[in-house]
Amino acid sequence: MQEEIKLMKGNEAIAHAAIRYGTDGYFGYPITPQSEIMETLMAEQPWETTGMTVLQAESEVAAINMVYGGAGSGRRVMTSSSSPGISLKLEGISYIAGAELPCLIINVMRGGPGLGTIQPSQADYFQTVKGGGHGDYRLITLAPYSVQEMADFVALGFDLAFKYSNPAMILADGIIGQMMEKVVLPPFRPRKTEAEIIAESPWAVQGKLKGRKVNVITSLELDPVAMEQNNLRFQAKYRKIEETEVRYEEYNCSDAEYLLIAFGSSARICQKTVELAREEGIKLGLLRPITLWPFPSSAIAAYAEKANVKGMLSVELNAGQMVEDVRLAVNGKVKVEHFGRLGGMVFTPDEILAALKTKIM
């Protein structure tokens, strides 16, 4: 069968992909610029077809705790919000990470701090990859840069979450959420049956089953000796994820003398900057981290070692967050600077090129 190409917003693509993936439940609370996710799910009424639950909770806090419960029973469950709403969910996210449960969380970022603006931003990078909630936990973080990736990362996020029993986050922003472009939606797959869930997730709470002892899921461990062991287990898992799950993409990097490092919508705008620079004869490339955690530190470090690379510009819709991880990777080998716009303002391709010339060249 020929693939059907559709035109839709990134937010709508996430909703369709979630239904098609066989997601068991979505729990959310509306906030711009991501409200189309729940609107689309409600309009599609998947409870009539796949049996997927779609529920508007009374608050973000309630929604994330519904996710905690659904995940504990081995279901594929998700929630979505935008920056201020994600702040509210962080307590729940820390608990889910501490209980080692898989789930998918989507943040379509807007400008902050506080209630801020509804315009696009990438200022939740620190919040997402450096903790946010309390305790030594990590979120597998995927940064889509197209409507197609919004759709594709639903399956990838869930698969990684279940592979490592860890929450995964899709970190998008208002641009990717609101823009429409072509997308090929994934094929429909059935939701897991009760028997499949019991077989695949022996840790899941399923009531009293014959021949299986009762599971208890908690992030609480009052004995610090045991809690340290839990943390060491988490850390070993995180090292494994760092070794195996780094994803990134390179554009015009092979002969590049200067590199832009950018993720999500910024990477799209930077692609155009690379085109403009190449027209002027400037050898500019773009390295786009797809996973923000685990971060592609080794790939960036390798470019810093190359004799022809003279400098890197970390281009972000924030005051300079990912640039710290770029500098850690580069470790002083080449000049690394940051360029950003704040509070919902978005840079244009020529502004980035001008920044490259003044800050790096």
């Binding site: 035109l7 919508s265 020529d350 502004e351």
Partner: protein
């Protein structure tokens, strides 16, 4: 082929939906398309704009600093986007909303009195389709048959009875656009 277009005017003029129809038309022709709206706290009477890109090759940035074509439907948008038309590009404006016409000599300028014509036709709702017709006349980037298919795809089924009226408005728009 690549067309980078900004459509800018007041909320309620059908700016976003016109962009959507253009994007669907491009999709029908097998092109790469991107549709990026301004999605601020928009309301009827506030400003609204949308960037539409149609291209034979993959599209990089959905946000641009220069455009091949600017469709300007009110004075604030003229002030904001007049200078952002590429040299040799096209600026289309509706005569009704504009007090200060463009002074640029290095671009092609077209005027379309769509607001007046829509009033004559006693149908405000076809305003954006008149403009779309004008655009297709001066820059036939997509075939009319694909625009009509695009229109059908972007309208909910309950509005499909309005398709003939919209097609007539597109054809009328092609007649009333004038080069300045």
């Amino acid at each position: 082929m690549k067309q980078e277009i900004i459509i800018a005017g007041f909320g309620g003029q059908g700016v976003l939906s016109m962009g959507k129809i253009l994007a669907y038309s491009g999709l029908t022709e097998g092109m790469e398309v991107s549709w990026m709206p301004s999605y601020g706290p928009e309301q009827r009477g506030g400003t609204a704009n949308v960037t539409v890109i149609l291209s034979d090759s993959p599209i990089s940035s959905p946000i641009l600093n220069q455009y091949d074509i600017a469709i300007i439907l009110n004075q604030p948008s003229m002030n904001k986007f007049e200078s952002k038309v590429k040299q040799g590009g096209i600026l289309i404006y509706d005569g009704y909303g504009i007090n200060d016409e463009t002074k640029r000599k290095d671009i092609r300028v077209y005027r379309i009195d769509a607001m007046d014509t829509a009033t004559e036709m006693q149908n405000d709702k076809v305003f954006n389709m008149l403009i779309l017709g004008g655009l297709l006349k001066v820059s036939p980037m997509v075939k009319l048959e694909n625009v009509l298919l695009g229109l059908k795809k972007s309208l909910p089924e309950r509005h499909h009875k309005l398709l003939p009226m919209n097609e007539a408005a597109i054809r009328r728009g092609m007649e009333i656009i004038k080069e300045i």
